[in-house]
């Protein structure tokens, strides 16, 4: 009963209390005005932080309320933000609300007030706003110092692409403040007398050290600035995956993307979170992280990778089963074992995974970087596999990788090992060919062989053995060992047939022998010659099959041009083959290649079957023949170019074009065709379609005309280069007749001249006989014979001259002087003067007439030198003095010296040629001037000095003044009468 009474009392009290509450809430408007509003400024985030309480709430009362917040800037009336903040309010609870300002808070004073309203469904009639709280001011400018200029926000970190508002506060109210973004001036909006704001839109990353924004006053050098750090947007990690190598540790990797690397912001951090276990780890590296696998046999994992920086967070998740993410470690200790020529055993080891786990290993064999064998082997720890079908003496690479057998996820990395197989004997006989020729009268065979391919050599070929066996008579085998890498040898044989074996040897043994039979008689087989066409693939050579027992064919050719030494090439072909394509990288267009086709008999002897010649590609002739022109007549001439070789041309010469330029206006002859040359000149062309015809007669020409000709060969591609034309002029039609007349006339003249020469003595006697010499007179001999010693011929020295005629004779007037006396008197220079050296008994009133003889048989120069005089010139003594000489002194001296010498060499008898002719008749002068005493030798005779002088002196051209004047001879003591 007591318990009931207590319960009843409690119920009544509670009911009373409820009634009281209801009466309080519902009966009057709730005075739930926000109280104790405090505003603080956070410059780092540019946030206004508000906190307040609602004191009017009853104890334990919890109501949903809406707070309306107003924010004004600069002044209360300038409301810039209104926001309703809904929350559940308890009694005495301190409420918080933040607002981030776009404009840096330091640039403007902000005013905040709020009011509230109950928004609780339990109180239906509660929709009345409370009164506004009083304005609270948040002015960060008060915190600034006394600097004249500030720029905000300081060191803000933003993401690339965002918009940023910057402002400056100037303590000095000046208009001349300019602001710059990275050195470029920016313009803003003035918000207040001292505040200007700039809005930077879509900012971009410039450098890790931040973007500089600064303002400066033009006066005073005041400067303020900020650094805006622009971060690139954090990227989501890519390729996030986790795997394990040993089922103990998981390694998760990802691609972090780019990192801005700002100095203001550290690199983004990465956190690995596993949701099933709830464990978390902060990764030390930016692209991988290790996770220790728990021992509780957790198989499934759900990982979340969280990337974050100051501005953003990114995450990526994966869910997987541990055993499905096994990536085995790289195998190790891979070695070849028991390596033979064709097989080898490979062994290797793997790291174990868990207990008794099986790994699938893949063994690959490579040669020349190509996989040639692949084998799968299941192993636990140790692996072994026998590789077979290997090539001898070959380098191989074996490599192994393994994967988890239970759930294949990834192959491990490869481990590789190189090894070489051992050598084996060469597997194939060398390809041998021969070339027969006669050297010094002995048949000589040149043997050629091709080096064995690597596949057939099976090792390094050390030498070749050549065994020569005489088939005609039994003899000892001759074995030659030729060290590699020789590819040919030469054997001198006799007329017998020989069988030659060639084997290649390496370190293991010899190859099968290649057999060839040669005969000592090289033979000169005349075979069919043909042409072969070249294509891009090479020369398609075909031949007629040899009837009988051909065991094969060989096509032989030289790789190089004809003018180079032959690099013999050959190709072996089967017995049923009658065509092949010969290709070689050495083939060049415009080069003639000669192919010889041999048939191989059952006796291994080769017989020449055919010869072919061809060009890989024919070209136009590169040069023109040297044309010789002959048989030129007035109507024709012959052209020939017999030295032109058609064999060495870059194509098959099909013929020749003879170009002839006729004289102007002349038409082409019938056989010629009119053509236009590249330089637009018109000429006539004659085509010779026979390449062996190397002469051509150009006919039907006009006499005395100029023709130009030019000969060029042509191939199927075109003709030779256009060279210069050669000019030829046809002679006059009658010139040959003139020649027939002139030649005999010349001949006759020559005959006459020869006769004259032969009869010169006779002519001399007839035309100009010698002057008689008294010393040589026959009379003298008669006198001597009568032994009358007193009879002598009067010597010219004995005569005493009574007058000397001095003649000043200019050169060039000799003929005149000699021919016409009258001219002498007319010319002052040539007028003779007479000196009377000895007085005569009778007065001699004047000069007498002079007679001058001249002997033309003597040298003209000597005559000139001697001049005419009435005295003999004595050579023994030089003149004691020389008068004035106008000629060069040296010449004069030489002249004198030569003169003396020449006279000195003259025999005495000849020296006496200087004489006065005794035949000179004193009556030959002018009779009117004769002296009164006739016996006196009053008359003077003029002589030409007759002497022999050396040719050298004679040839010296006498100068006008070089002759000795008479005056210079006055010192001589001898006189002539």
């Amino acid at each position: 009963m007591a318990l009931f009474a207590v319960f009843q009392t409690t119920y009544l009290l509670a009911l009373l209390s409820l009634r009281t509450y209801e009466s309080e809430v519902l009966s009057e408007p709730l005075p739930l005005t926000p109280e104790s509003l405090k505003v603080s400024v956070n410059s780092t985030c540019q946030c206004l932080h508000l906190q307040w309480t609602v004191h009017s709430l009853a104890y334990h009362q919890e109501l949903k309320m809406v707070f309306q917040i107003q924010i004004s800037r600069f002044k209360t009336s300038n409301v810039i933000w209104v926001e309703n903040y809904s929350t559940t309010v308890k009694q005495n609870q301190v409420l918080h609300w933040s607002w981030e300002s776009e404009l840096p808070l330091e640039c403007a004073a902000h005013f905040i007030r709020m009011r509230s309203v109950v928004d609780d469904s339990r109180i239906p009639e509660s929709g009345f706003w409370s009164n506004w709280s009083s304005w609270e001011e948040a002015d960060a400018q008060n915190l600034l110092g006394h600097d004249p200029l500030f720029v905000f926000p300081k060191d803000k970190l933003v993401e690339e692409g965002s918009n940023v508002t910057i402002c400056y506060v100037s303590r000095i109210h000046q208009d001349n403040i300019s602001c710059y973004l990275e050195g470029v001036q920016i313009h803003g909006e003035q918000l207040d007398r001292s505040v200007t704001a700039f809005e930077l839109k879509n900012v971009s990353f410039i450098r890790k050290k931040g973007t500089n924004v600064f303002c400066k006053m033009e006066q005073g050098g005041v400067l303020g600035g900020i650094v805006l750090f622009v971060s690139k947007v954090l990227q989501e990690p890519k390729d996030f995956s986790c795997e394990t190598q040993d089922l103990k540790t998981l390694t998760c990797t990802w691609d972090p993307g780019s990192d801005t690397g700002l100095t203001k912001q550290p690199s983004q951090s990465y956190t690995l979170f596993e949701s099933f276990s709830g464990k978390r780890t902060l990764c030390k590296h930016r692209n991988w992280c290790n996770w220790q696998v728990a021992q509780d046999s957790q198989e499934t994992y759900n990982f979340t990778l969280l990337a974050e920086n100051y501005l953003r967070k990114r995450s990526v998740s994966i869910l997987f089963n541990l055993t499905q993410r096994v990536h085995p470690m790289t195998p190790y200790n891979l070695f070849p074992k028991n390596v033979g020529a064709t097989n080898a055993t490979m062994t290797w080891k793997v790291h174990s995974i868990g207990n008794n786990s099986t790994l699938l290993c893949q063994l690959e064999l490579l040669t020349e970087e190509k996989v040639i064998q692949q084998h799968n082997v299941s192993i636990k720890v140790n692996g072994e596999y026998l590789l077979s079908e290997l090539e001898p003496d070959t380098e191989y690479v074996a490599r192994v990788r393994c994967a988890y057998t239970k759930h294949f996820w990834k192959w491990s990395e490869f481990i590789s090992q190189k090894f070489n197989t051992a050598e084996a004997a060469p597997s194939e006989a060398p390809d041998v060919w021969r070339n027969m020729k006669m050297v010094s009268g002995h048949p000589t065979v040149s043997l050629f062989w091709k080096p064995l391919s690597k596949v057939h050599a099976n090792g390094k070929i050390l030498f070749y053995n050549v065994t020569v066996e005489n088939l005609d008579k039994p003899s000892r085998l001759e074995v030659l060992s030729i060290p590699a890498p020789a590819r040919s040898t030469e054997l001198t044989l006799d007329q017998c047939s020989y069988q030659i074996h060639v084997t290649a040897h390496n370190s293991v043994g010899p190859s099968p022998a290649s057999v060839i039979v040669v005969s000592g008689d090289p033979g000169n087989e005349e075979v069919e010659k043909g042409r072969v066409n070249g294509t891009e693939d090479g020369f398609s050579v075909s031949w007629k099959p040899q009837s009988g027992d051909a065991t094969g064919y060989v096509v032989e050719w030289c790789d190089g041009p004809q003018d180079l030494p032959c690099v013999l090439q050959w190709k072996n072909l089967g017995p049923n083959t009658t065509s092949t394509v010969i290709s070689s990288g050495a083939f060049r267009p415009g080069v003639r290649y000669n192919f010889r086709i041999y048939g191989i008999s059952t006796k291994r002897m080769a017989h020449l079957l055919e010869k072919k010649a061809g060009y890989l590609e024919e070209l136009a002739p590169s040069d023109n023949p040297q044309v010789v022109m002959s048989n030129l007549t007035s109507h024709s001439f012959t052209l020939s170019w017999k030295d032109y070789s058609t064999e060495s041309q870059p194509g098959f010469i099909q013929g020749y074009h003879v170009y002839l330029k006729p004289k102007a206006g002349e038409q082409c002859h019938q056989a010629f065709e009119k053509t236009v040359l590249p330089e637009d000149s018109v000429c006539c062309k004659y085509t010779i379609d026979n390449p062996e015809q190397k002469t051509f007669v150009v006919e039907n020409l006009q006499p005395e005309s100029v023709y130009e000709f030019f000969v060029t060969p042509y191939t199927s591609v075109g003709e030779g280069p256009l060279d210069a034309f050669t000019k030829v002029t046809t002679p006059d039609e009658y010139s040959h007749i003139l020649i027939r007349i002139i030649l005999p006339m010349v001949f006759c003249v020559l005959i006459v001249m020869i006769i004259c020469y032969l009869k010169s003595q006779w002519l001399k006697e007839k035309c100009y006989p010698d002057i008689p010499d008294p010393y040589k007179s026959s009379v003298l001999s008669l006198i001597k014979s009568k032994e009358n010693p007193h009879l002598t011929i009067m010597n010219v020295n004995d005569c005493v001259p009574d007058a000397i005629e001095v003649i000043n004779k200019p050169e060039g007037s000799k003929i005149q002087f000699l021919g016409t006396r009258k001219s002498l008197t007319e010319t002052e220079f040539t007028k003779p003067a007479y000196l009377y050296l000895l007085p005569t008994e009778k007065n001699y009133s004047g000069p007498g007439p002079c007679i001058c003889f001249e002997n033309f048989t003597y040298n003209q120069a000597a005559s000139d030198f001697a001049s005419c005089g009435h005295f003999p010139v004595t050579p023994q003594a030089p003149p004691p003095q020389l008068g004035p000489l106008t000629s060069p002194e040296n010449l004069l001296k030489a002249l004198e010296q030569n003169y003396m010498n020449s006279l000195g060499e003259i025999p005495a008898g000849e020296a006496n040629l200087n004489y006065v002719s005794q035949l000179a008749s004193p009556t030959s002068g002018d009779k009117d001037s004769l002296p009164t005493n006739p016996p006196e030798p009053a008359l003077c005779s003029e002589y030409k000095m007759q002497m022999a002088i050396p040719l050298g002196l004679a040839s010296a051209p006498p100068r006008e003044n070089s002759s000795l004047s008479s005056t210079t001879l006055l010192g001589q003591g001898e006189h002539c009468s």
């Binding site: 060191d155 050195g183 450098r207 050290k209 931040g210 050098g221 005041v222 900020i226 650094v227 750090f229």
Partner: protein, 215 residues
């Protein structure tokens, strides 16, 4: 002449001992220090260009001359000419030593904050060279018998920005650090040139020797 000889002999004890013993004296080391300052000038020219580009405009602009706001702790190289002339050798060397000690610390701080590896390499190389200059100055002071200035305990200069130190001001400090360093290198070149001339053997002694032969 005799009076002159006596005067010179009277002043001989004032000449440092190394001049009389045939020891080359501090002359070569002063010359090397001078050469080192010229080399560092050249090296700084390249480094400053790179670093100011790293800071960005306006710091890399040639005519940028900001007020010296936050760089008050930097040792000032500029000094009144008369004051500079009146400095004695010891004070002159001490100022150089102290200045480069401080500047080296600041430079090492700069190196720690550099964001690129190439810049860190360049700064480290320059710091090594500057350390060499410091050692060279210490060598000259020791040769002249001057003690090295002892750093006051707890006054190790630092170059870490304080909380109120904005990044822009930090850049200004970096700018001023490089500028002061350059000015100090200029001043040091003048200092050591002056010292070098002063330490050259007096010409009067040579003259005296020649004249003695004349007697």
């Amino acid at each position: 002449m005799l009076a002159c000889l006596c005067a010179v002999l009277w002043h001989l004890p004032a000449v440092p001992a190394h001049n009389r013993t045939g020891d080359p004296g501090p002359g070569p080391s002063i010359q090397k220090t001078y050469d080192l300052t010229r080399y560092l000038e050249h090296q700084l020219r390249s480094l400053a260009g790179t670093y100011l580009n790293y800071l960005g405009p306006p710091f890399n602009e040639p005519d940028f001359n900001p007020p010296r706001l936050g760089a008050e702790t930097l040792p000032r190289a500029t000094v009144n000419l008369e004051v500079w002339r009146s400095l004695n050798d010891r004070l002159r060397l001490t100022q150089n030593y102290e200045a480069y000690s401080h500047l080296l610390c600041y430079l090492r701080g700069l190196n720690r904050q550099a964001a690129t590896a190439e810049l860190r390499r360049s700064l480290a190389h320059f710091c090594t060279s500057l350390q060499g200059l410091l050692g060279s100055i210490a060598g000259v002071m020791a040769a002249l018998g001057y003690p090295l200035p002892q750093p006051l305990p707890g006054t190790e200069p630092t170059w870490t920005p304080g909380p109120a130190h904005s990044d822009f001001l930090q850049k200004m400090d970096d700018f001023w650090l490089l500028k002061e360093l350059q000015t100090w290198l200029w001043r040091s070149a003048k200092d050591f040139n002056r010292l070098k001339k002063k330490m050259q053997p007096p010409a009067a002694a040579v003259t005296l020797h020649l004249e003695a032969h004349g007697f």
